[in-house]
C-alpha cells in the first residue's frame, strides 16, 4: 500500500536520492566519495579504480544488507551518505536473486524475474530507502550507461538495468545526472536531452567537474546534495503557499454570482502565473455558466444571459453548487439553495457568504438538521455587503 502525502501535509525531512550514470572510467565512484561521510556498498567490484577512496563495504549477498538493517548495524557506523555501486548490479543481480530465493512466484521458468518479482524488488528498495531516510542518510546510486533506441534511429543513453528495475529506481530518484568526458573534462548534466535521460529537481546547469587534485573537488557531491535539499525544501514551502492561494481564490470565485463580481475577479487573477491562472480561470468559467453570466471577447464585458420568465431574480443570483445540482435536479428545492437565499436576505454575499455557508454546514451536522434551518439561525448583518449593494 503506497502512502500518499497530501499537498497540505508537511513533507518529511527531505533526503536526496541521486543517480549518476555514464561510461566506465569517467570517474563515477571517485565522484561518489566526495559526498558527506560516505559509505560505499560495492556490488560489482569496480571500486578498486576509484580515487580518494573512503569506507567501502563489499557485498556478497543481499542478505547482508537485510541483516545490517534488521540489527541496525548501520546506526553504529558514522556515515551520512550511502553509495550503491552499481545500481544495476544491486537490483538486477543481488536483489533479484534474493527475492527469487525467498518466493518461488518471483521467478519465471527461464530463471528471470517474474512481474511479481519486480514488485518484490520495489518493496525491498522502498524498505532500504525508508531505512536510510529515517537515519537522515542520503542515497547515491551509481550506474553504468546503456544506449536505448529513441525517436527514429537516434539512441538515448540511460542507466543500465532491466526495465522493471529501472522503473523502480527512477520512481525514487530526486536527481538523475549523466557523466561524460567532453574535451578531456568530466561533465555532469542533470537536464534531460535527446541523447540521455535526466532529472533536475534542483535546476542545476550542466558543468565540468574540477580535477580531483583541485581542493574544490574534495566535497563537491556533498555541496550538490545540500543545495538540492535546500531547493526541495524551498519548493515545498512555495508549493504550500501556492496551494493556500489557490484555495483562497477557489472560495472567492465560488462566491461570485453577478457580472460585476466576475469582472472584478478576472482583474485579480490576470497577473498570476499560468499555473494559477489556468485552473482558476477554468473554475471561473464553470461558475459563470452556473450563474448564467457570459463574457463578450469583443467588448470585454461580462453580462447576464436572458433567463426564463419563471426564474426569480434571487435564483439568478444564487445558483446552487454543481454538487447540489447532481443530488437534486430541482435546484430551487435544495437546502443549500434555500440557505443561500436566506443568507442573501440577511445581507451576506461574497467571501462572507462562503464563510457563513461553511458555518451552517458545521452547525447542520452538529445538530442533525438541514442547511437551510441552520441558515435561519444565523444573525442578520447590519449593512448589506458591497456585492449586495451593487446588485
Amino acid at each position: 500500500m503506497i502512502k500518499i502525502t497530501t499537498p497540505q501535509e508537511p513533507l518529511p525531512p527531505v533526503n536526496a536520492v541521486f543517480i549518476f550514470y555514464g561510461p566506465p572510467g569517467v570517474g563515477k565512484s571517485s565522484f561518489g566519495f566526495t559526498a558527506h561521510k560516505p559509505l560505499l556498498l560495492d556490488f560489482d567490484g569496480g571500486v578498486e579504480r576509484a580515487v580518494g577512496r573512503k569506507d567501502v563495504a563489499k557485498i556478497n549477498l543481499y542478505d547482508e544488507i537485510e541483516d545490517m538493517m534488521e540489527k541496525d548495524q548501520f546506526a553504529s557506523l558514522d556515515f551520512k551518505t550511502v553509495i550503491i555501486d552499481t545500481g544495476g548490479a544491486f537490483l538486477d543481480k543481488f536483489a533479484a536473486e534474493y527475492v527469487m530465493r525467498k518466493d518461488f512466484k518471483n521467478k519465471k521458468g527461464d530463471g528471470s524475474l517474474s512481474l511479481s518479482g519486480y514488485g518484490a524488488i520495489g518493496v525491498l528498495f522502498q524498505r532500504l530507502v525508508d531505512y536510510f531516510m529515517k537515519k537522515k542518510i542520503d542515497i547515491v546510486i551509481i550506474c553504468h550507461g546503456v544506449e536505448k533506441e529513441g525517436a527514429g534511429d537516434t539512441l538515448r543513453i540511460r542507466p543500465k538495468m532491466t526495465g522493471g528495475s529501472y522503473n523502480v529506481m527512477m520512481g525514487f530518484a530526486t536527481m538523475v545526472g549523466y557523466m561524460e568526458m567532453i574535451n578531456g573534462k568530466c561533465t555532469l548534466n542533470f537536464n534531460p536531452t535527446d541523447s540521455h535521460v535526466g532529472k533536475n529537481s534542483a535546476e542545476f546547469a550542466p558543468f565540468a567537474l574540477p580535477h580531483y587534485t583541485d581542493p574544490a573537488y574534495s566535497n563537491l557531491l556533498a555541496e550538490l546534495i545540500q543545495k538540492t535539499k535546500d531547493k526541495l525544501n524551498a519548493h515545498s514551502v512555495e508549493q504550500a503557499a501556492t496551494l493556500e492561494l489557490i484555495t483562497e481564490l477557489t472560495r472567492t470565485v465560488a462566491a461570485c454570482s453577478m457580472p460585476a463580481d466576475f469582472a472584478s475577479f478576472a482583474s485579480k487573477i490576470v497577473s498570476h502565473p499560468e499555473y494559477i491562472k489556468a485552473p482558476i480561470g477554468k473554475l471561473m468559467k464553470d461558475r459563470m455558466a452556473e450563474c448564467n453570466v457570459t463574457f463578450d471577447r469583443t467588448s470585454g464585458q461580462y453580462s447576464s444571459k436572458a433567463v426564463p420568465a419563471t426564474t426569480t431574480d434571487s435564483e439568478k443570483v444564487d445558483s446552487p453548487s454543481p454538487e447540489s445540482r447532481a443530488e437534486n435536479p430541482d435546484n430551487s428545492q435544495t437546502p443549500e439553495h434555500k440557505a443561500r437565499l436566506i443568507l442573501t436576505e440577511k445581507g451576506y454575499s461574497g467571501d462572507e457568504m462562503v464563510t457563513m455557508l461553511q458555518q451552517c454546514r458545521d452547525l447542520a451536522e452538529l445538530e442533525k438538521t438541514t442547511l437551510d434551518k441552520a441558515a435561519s439561525s444565523c444573525p442578520v448583518k447590519k449593512a448589506p455587503s458591497k456585492a449586495k449593494a451593487k446588485a
Binding site: 529513441g150 533536475n200 535546476e203 502565473p273 499555473y275
Partner: protein, 229 residues
C-alpha cells in the same frame, strides 16, 4: 488562418517515431483526422478515471442491498452507468481524498508561430495542484517509466503552465473477462514524476514542428485548421 493542434496529436506522432505500442503511420493519420474507436477496456478506464476525479456530475454514490455502497459512473460511450463496488473503487477514492485541493480537467492553450504558421496548442490537464501537474493513467499495464519519460505530453504541460514538475499516476486495472465485457477485480497504484528543465520549450517546439512537417507531407493540414465558432 490559424491551426489548432492538441498535445495528444503531437504525442501520437512522437509515439510512432519512438515505435511504441506498434503505432503505425496510418494510426497517426487517422488520429489527426479525428477517427478513433473505443474498446470496452478503454471504456472501463474512462469510468475509473471519472471515479478518481470524483466528479459529482458523473459519479453517483448509492446504497445497494446486496453490495453496500456502490459507485455509479456515467460514461459518454455507454447508455447505462458503470458500477463499482466500494472495494473496486477504494484506490480511486483514497487518491481523490489525498488530492482534495487539486483542480481537475483544466484546459490549456498556447499560441505560437512556427514553421510559417500560427498554431494554437491545446490540451487538458487531468489535475493541477499548485506548481505540480498530474495525469491519471488507467489500463492493464504497469507504469512504464521509460515510456512516460519519452512522452511529449508532460513537457508541453510543464512548459505552457510553468509547472515545477509533472506526475503520472498509474492505476493498473486487474481485469477478468465476462460475457458482459471486462470486470475489474482489483487495481494497483504507481507514480513517477518528472521535473522541468532547461531547453523544455525548445524540445516542445521541435515536437510541434515535426507534426506540422508530417501533416504537410500527408496533406492533412486542413484537418488541423481552427474551426470558426
Amino acid at each position: 488562418m490559424r491551426y489548432r493542434i492538441s498535445v495528444s496529436k503531437i504525442d501520437q506522432l512522437r509515439s510512432y517515431m519512438d515505435e511504441e505500442y506498434n503505432t503505425t503511420q496510418q494510426d497517426v493519420i487517422d488520429y489527426l483526422k479525428g477517427t478513433k474507436a473505443f474498446t470496452p477496456a478503454m471504456t472501463l478506464g474512462t469510468a475509473f478515471h471519472s471515479l478518481v476525479e470524483m466528479n459529482h456530475r458523473d459519479v453517483e454514490i448509492c446504497e445497494d442491498p446486496k453490495h453496500g455502497t456502490i459507485f455509479k459512473v456515467k460514461v459518454p460511450e455507454l447508455q447505462y452507468p458503470m458500477t463499482f463496488t466500494a472495494g473496486q473503487a477504494k484506490p480511486a477514492v483514497e487518491f481523490a481524498a489525498a488530492h482534495r485541493g487539486a483542480i481537475y480537467e483544466t484546459p490549456v492553450e498556447k499560441e505560437v508561430h512556427i514553421s510559417g504558421v500560427d498554431v494554437l496548442i491545446t490540451g487538458r490537464v487531468d489535475m493541477i495542484e499548485g506548481r505540480s501537474g498530474r495525469d491519471i493513467k488507467t489500463g492493464k499495464y504497469n507504469l512504464d517509466v521509460d515510456q512516460r519519460y519519452r512522452s511529449s505530453q508532460w513537457r508541453f504541460y510543464t512548459w505552457i503552465l510553468g509547472l515545477k514538475d509533472f506526475h503520472y499516476d498509474n492505476f493498473r486495472l486487474l481485469l477478468a473477462d465476462s460475457n458482459a465485457g471486462p470486470i475489474m477485480i482489483g487495481s494497483e497504484y504507481e507514480s513517477v514524476s518528472f521535473d522541468t528543465y532547461d531547453g523544455i520549450e525548445a524540445d516542445c517546439l521541435r515536437y510541434l514542428a515535426s507534426l506540422i512537417d508530417f501533416a504537410r507531407m500527408h496533406d492533412l493540414m486542413s484537418y488541423l485548421e481552427e474551426k470558426k465558432k
